[in-house]
């Protein structure tokens, strides 16, 4: 019997000591309002290209290759999770990479998710706070802007990691490996676009000679020349811009298609991760349910109260009789008495077999998720004083033990749970779930060093990801498995 209520009690007792979990939701990037995501926004996102916190030193694919297939891993998500205590972790981003090939995950789940932590101090050579009159508002400020002197490393066009190689023809596009170069060449449009120049902008043309203006005048529909200067010039310019933007648009379209092809090939769709606190109210949950069927509840209670009272009387009478007969109260009688106080007839309760095979851990998980069904992330490290809540496991099996998590290599302390990725995220990755080798996991638990150890020169500290899968249990009552050699007529 699923004793879910016991778990709920414990959670409620510890609610005062444990911090509330912060949930992450995936939402499309609002391009019109905010524009594309930039490094100085310090946002959390999933998919697309990684936005490096430290633009000068970026990850190399040597560190970020799948252990099974040895190909460069795909960027999954990055979380901006700043800390107060070590001054060097004023800006802090956790990057998670995963192998896109589901077969690697099936072979061995551990080497296919890699997590790194990157952090920057408050005063760094890359970002400066937007100038404010009030110095104290530096922490609560409006935002940051990039410093002009900050250096940027070359990044691969396909995956966004360090790109030391360049296209041998145009020397303009960088790549991290020959493989990505060939992907861009064959699957992208670089074959057509390599070496081509973007068509000249209106600014360029206005500097050109009068002869060009005359030609364009012939092409354009405007005939009047002697109107107000402003008008004529504008009209001319309009004509010019009309013909130009067509070419420019074609070129821009090609670039766009190129980008989108590569994106679909190698990256996950880009979405922003928004944070929101989880308001978990145990009583509200149960109250909500009671409101739905209050009518039934009352009827049943009325029915029972009478029955229960009658039963109780009966049992008490019996007990009194027995007590009289036997005199002294023995142990067996005590238990008999206590069981006689139960409202279910004595012998029956013991022989009732009402256990069912259910996956109670999964049901607890589902109940918790049901409050916010489309959450993709649960961030647990919320407060300094309060304890970090335990991760929400999806099954009883495969719970990582303390020994399974290697300690931090720099300070030697045990890594603690920071956040977990939920399987709802798989809905947003745009993968084909019907393939046998599709990416699939129950939950990914990320453990990191609590102290945020900082090592000079080492810009990316590795952290640990543990994967837990769902259990294979369903609901099976007794011997009711349906064998595969029974054809079921489907309509």
């Amino acid at each position: 019997m699923a004793d879910n209520d016991n778990h709920m009690d414990q959670d409620h007792d510890n609610a005062l000591e444990e911090a509330q979990v912060m949930l992450g939701f995936a939402e499309p990037v609002d391009l019109e309002e905010h524009g594309p995501l930039l490094a100085e926004d310090f946002c959390s996102k999933m998919g697309g290209l990684p936005i490096w916190l430290n633009p000068e030193h970026v990850l190399d694919i040597k560190d970020m290759s799948c252990d099974q297939c040895h190909k460069p891993m795909t960027f999954l998500l990055q979380l901006y999770s700043p800390e107060d205590h070590p001054a060097e972790a004023f800006h802090r981003v956790i990057y998670v990479f995963c192998c896109k090939n589901g077969a690697c995950h099936k072979k061995s789940p551990q080497g296919c998710f890699k997590v790194v932590r990157s952090q920057l101090g408050q005063y760094n050579p890359y970002y400066t706070p937007v100038s404010n009159d009030d110095e104290d508002a530096a922490e609560e400020n409006e935002g940051w802007e990039p410093l002009e002197t900050s250096k940027h490393a070359k990044t691969c066009f396909v995956c966004g990691m360090y790109g030391p190689k360049v296209c041998s023809r145009c020397h303009k596009v960088s790549y991290c490996s020959a493989e990505h170069q060939s992907i861009h060449w064959t699957k992208g449009l670089h074959k057509q676009l390599c070496g081509t120049q973007p068509p000249p902008t209106p600014a360029n043309l206005s500097e050109l000679s009068i002869s060009d203006n005359k030609e364009s005048k012939d092409e354009s529909e405007e005939e009047e020349e002697y109107d107000e200067d402003g008008n004529v010039i504008e009209k001319k310019k309009k004509a010019l811009t009309q013909t130009l933007t067509k070419e420019q648009q074609d070129y821009a379209n090609k670039l766009d298609i190129d980008y989108k092809l590569v994106e679909r090939m190698n990256r996950f769709p880009e979405l922003e991760i928004i944070s929101e606190a989880e308001i978990f109210d145990q009583e509200a949950l149960e109250e909500g349910l009671a409101d739905e069927s209050s009518g039934d509840e009352q009827e049943a209670e009325e029915g029972w109260e009478e029955k229960a009272a009658a039963l109780k009387l009966k049992r008490e009478k019996k007990a009194a009789l027995l007590a009289k007969k036997n005199g002294g109260v023995s142990k067996s009688l005590e238990t008999a008495e206590s069981s006689m106080n139960a409202l279910v007839p004595v012998g029956d309760e013991i022989y009732e077999n009402t256990k069912t095979d259910i996956d109670s851990a999964f049901l607890t998980f589902q109940k918790r998720i049901a409050l916010y069904p489309d959450q993709v992330l649960r961030y647990a490290r919320m407060e300094y004083e309060l304890t970090t809540p335990e991760p929400l496991y999806v099954s009883d099996i495969g719970i990582p033990k303390a020994d399974d998590i290697p300690p931090c290599p720099d300070c030697g302390q045990q890594r603690t749970f920071e956040f977990q990725i939920l399987p709802q995220m798989l809905n947003y990755l745009g993968i084909d779930h019907s393939a046998a080798d599709a990416l699939d996991f129950g939950t990914v638990l990320v453990y990191s060093c609590k102290e945020n150890c900082h090592v000079e020169g080492k810009h990316y500290q590795p952290e640990v990801a543990a994967v837990q899968h769902f259990s294979e249990d369903g609901m099976q009552g007794g011997n009711m498995t349906i064998g595969p050699n029974v054809s079921v007529s489907s309509k």
């Binding site: 946002c43 901006y80 509840e297 029956d348 009402t354 069912t356």
Partner: protein, 255 residues
């Protein structure tokens, strides 16, 4: 100011950066949309699976009740019994309520759920979910001539739980369900029109009795009748449909 995605303990920079999450927190809206968690759930939501029979054929575990809701929207539930159970504690007795719920569409699918909880409504709600998760197909057959739709169990089947044993025997058309109220309700929801039953053991224990009947109904598809003696052509599992199944050389392969 788009830093709505900060997480963590950093003062002023991490944590809930404002609830600018676009859409409102309409409770109803969120309850209706289902975000699948398991792979099977995702396949069902993408409409890659056409019927629940495909799931039964491969014995895939159904972990999300919304899958069953999707394929069988016309399930009717029936609360068989609310049984108060008590546990003796130092501070008196702690009463909880155990709900037995039977669910079915009267056309070949039944489920049984049992849930214990402090409140009746919670127990019933939980039992309905568990009942949906345990929905099983029911095989119906004929007593005599194979005419019209199947109306009874295909053969004599039996189910046992605890000391309660239920035996279902095929009956001619028009007999109706000859059973005690408990198995009768279950058989009605299963879509069996005519059936004789025999019960043994302690049928007062409702939990065992209803589980025994449920097991008997489930055994209808476990029983190998002569018409199933022919070898079956294996079909592709929903997880395998587009991959290496076709690459493997096999003697019997679907055309």
């Amino acid at each position: 100011m788009r830093r709505r995605g900060g997480f963590g303990r950093g003062r002023g920079r991490g944590g809930d950066r404002g609830r600018g999450r676009g859409r409102g927190r309409g409770g109803k809206d969120e309850k209706e949309t289902w975000t699948p968690v398991t792979k099977l759930g995702r396949l069902v939501k993408d409409r890659k699976i056409q019927s629940i029979e495909q799931i039964y054929l491969f014995s895939l575990p159904i972990k999300e009740y919304q899958i069953v809701d999707y394929f069988l929207p016309s399930l009717k539930d029936e609360v068989m019994k609310i049984m108060p159970v008590q546990k003796q504690t130092r501070a008196g007795q702690r009463t909880r309520f155990k709900a037995f719920v039977v669910i079915g569409d009267s056309n070949g699918h039944v489920g049984l759920g049992v849930k214990c909880s402090k409140e009746v409504a919670t127990a019933i709600r939980g039992a309905i979910i568990l009942a949906k998760l345990s929905v099983i197909p029911v095989r119906r057959g004929y007593w005599g001539s194979i005419l019209n739709e199947p109306h009874t169990v295909p053969c004599k089947v039996t189910g046992k739980c605890g000391s309660a044993v239920t035996r279902l025997v095929p009956a001619p058309r028009g007999t109706g369900i000859v059973a005690a109220p408990v198995p009768k309700k279950l058989l009605q929801l299963a879509g069996v029109t005519d059936c004789y039953t025999q019960a043994f053991g302690s049928t007062r224990t409702l939990g065992n009795f209803v589980k025994a009947t449920f097991a008997a109904i489930g055994n209808t598809y476990s029983y190998l009748t002569p018409d199933l003696w022919a070898e079956t052509q294996f079909t592709m599992s929903p997880y395998q449909q587009y991959t290496d199944f076709l690459a493997k050389p096999q003697d019997k392969r679907r055309a």
